[in-house]
Amino acid sequence: MKNSLTIAGKELAGYFLQPVAYVVMTVFLLLGGFFFFALLRYFEMTLAYSAAMQQNPEVLQQINLNQRVIEPMLHNLAIVLVILVPAITMRTFAEEKRTGTYELLLTAPIRTGEIVAGKFIAAAAFMLIMIGLAGIFPLILVAFGNPEVGVMFAGYLGLSFLAISFVSIGLFTSSLTENQIIAAISCFGLLLLLFVISWPAQAGGSSYADLLRYLSLPDHFAQMVTGIIDTRDVVYFLSVIFVALFLTQRSVESARWR
């Protein structure tokens, strides 16, 4: 555990020694801000329009900030993460292999699991910092409107789970190669696949359709974004993280297999 934290500390500091981390954060927050602004404008317009149409108050009640602003913004940010996470995780193992520092890690008296855990903690912490900074948007809503705080919290929790699952998959693809481009592209491919995997399921109601629907990442994410923290969804994300990290550990350990 101590060794994992040593590696995590060095990795997390390492993110901020390189410009990539700042670029990724800037892009994430700028796009987030743009979505927030655009959705808020749209929300205002809908509200004004509905009011002008003299609709009954019940309909007006249903137009709320959570559904019209935060929900779609989180869905958009999830897609932005599909592109940004590979850029963050591609270095983790691939770069060490290329520059030879992998030799330092593997000959140090530490377990491969500790190396993987350390890199995972750092990448997850980076994501939480980034998503935490995007917490400014709900704060603005709280200051000037009356959104439901619990629902927004569940949505951000969902986004965090999603980001950390992505990061685990990114670590895995990076552990397979010493080429950062290959690591990034294969991570991107896997993440996108998890996004669209339930498409064929719309055709039928067979058991395989159920399976695809279960594997589909946005389905579980959408639940949390609407404010429902279901253990099934939490278990899904934890399983993705666990499986990806397990495979990463095996992949790193495989260097020692005879």
Binding site: T6, T99, L104, T107, A108, R258
Partner: protein
């Protein structure tokens, strides 16, 4: 003490190291010689536990590098062929990181750091960024990294490569000074280096050990260069050449 026992490493069909065995005693410096591509780096990577052997094993102070890997690795300080530096880190931060990884206690890190910085002539460089250092200084940081946990076994892959003559002199002096009761294995293809600082020489060619001998016991009046050239050309002509034959031949040539 390092005992290499019948080490074989195959990459697919290509056999890089064939049945290599030798012993490096505590308190001595072993020079590991061989032409490029002879299998020096592969052997050293196996000794340090970076890669597994296809067959055979290595004992580090009696600990098997495969079955007791963690304990064995704790005893080793290793300078790979390319110093394993993180280019964005500062020298001091880097060495602290390695110290923690190698299990130096929190209380001892400061003194260990100060010690290696001084010994490797890096005191003025502590706040420089690793990626911006010259080759010579990178090599020194690599050496400092291998020494920081005061290991009983040192494995150095071409420690003086890329250094200027003055630095080579210093590093050789340093290695000599370090040996004390440590076991040091260093690879090189600079022959005078071996005659100057090593106690024992192992010559490897084409993946096989062609000579393992104490420097003192080498025939008087023969230069290491002759022995080396003879050993590696012999290897090319006849795979069955033994160390004794090689020595006799060189000895005969000079008498």
């Amino acid at each position: 003490m390092i005992e290499v026992k019948n080490l074989t490493k195959a990459y697919g069909n290509f056999v890089a190291v064939k049945d290599v065995s030798f012993k490096a005693e505590s308190g001595s410096i072993l020079g590991f010689l061989g032409p490029n591509g002879a299998g020096k780096t592969t052997t050293m990577r196996i000794i340090t536990g970076y890669m597994p052997a296809t067959a055979g094993t290595v004992l580090i102070d009696g600990l098997d590098i495969f079955s007791q890997s963690l304990e064995a690795r704790r005893k080793i300080g290793y300078l790979p062929e390319n110093p394993p530096l993180y280019p964005d880190m500062r020298v001091e931060a880097y060495l602290r990181f390695v110290a923690k990884l190698r299990g130096v206690g929190r209380a001892k890190i400061d003194s260990a750091l100060e010690h290696v910085l001084e010994v490797c002539g890096l005191t003025d460089m502590a706040h420089r960024i690793c990626g911006q250092l010259s080759k010579g200084y990178r090599q020194r940081v690599g050496l400092a990294q291998a020494l920081i946990h005061d290991p009983p076994v040192l494995v150095l892959d071409e420690p003086t490569i890329g250094l200027d003559p003055r630095q080579i002199h210093e590093i050789r002096g340093l290695i000599h000074h370090l040996s004390g009761n440590r076991t040091v294995v260093l690879s090189t293809h600079i022959l005078p280096e071996v005659s100057q600082i090593c106690d024992k020489v192992v010559i490897i060619a084409d993946g096989r050990v062609v000579l393992e001998e104490y420097l003192k016991k080498l025939p008087a009046g023969t230069s290491l260069e002759d022995i080396f050239l003879n050993a590696i050309t012999k290897e090319r002509h006849d795979d069955g050449a033994t160390a004794e034959e090689t020595l006799e031949e060189v000895g005969a040539g000079h008498t």
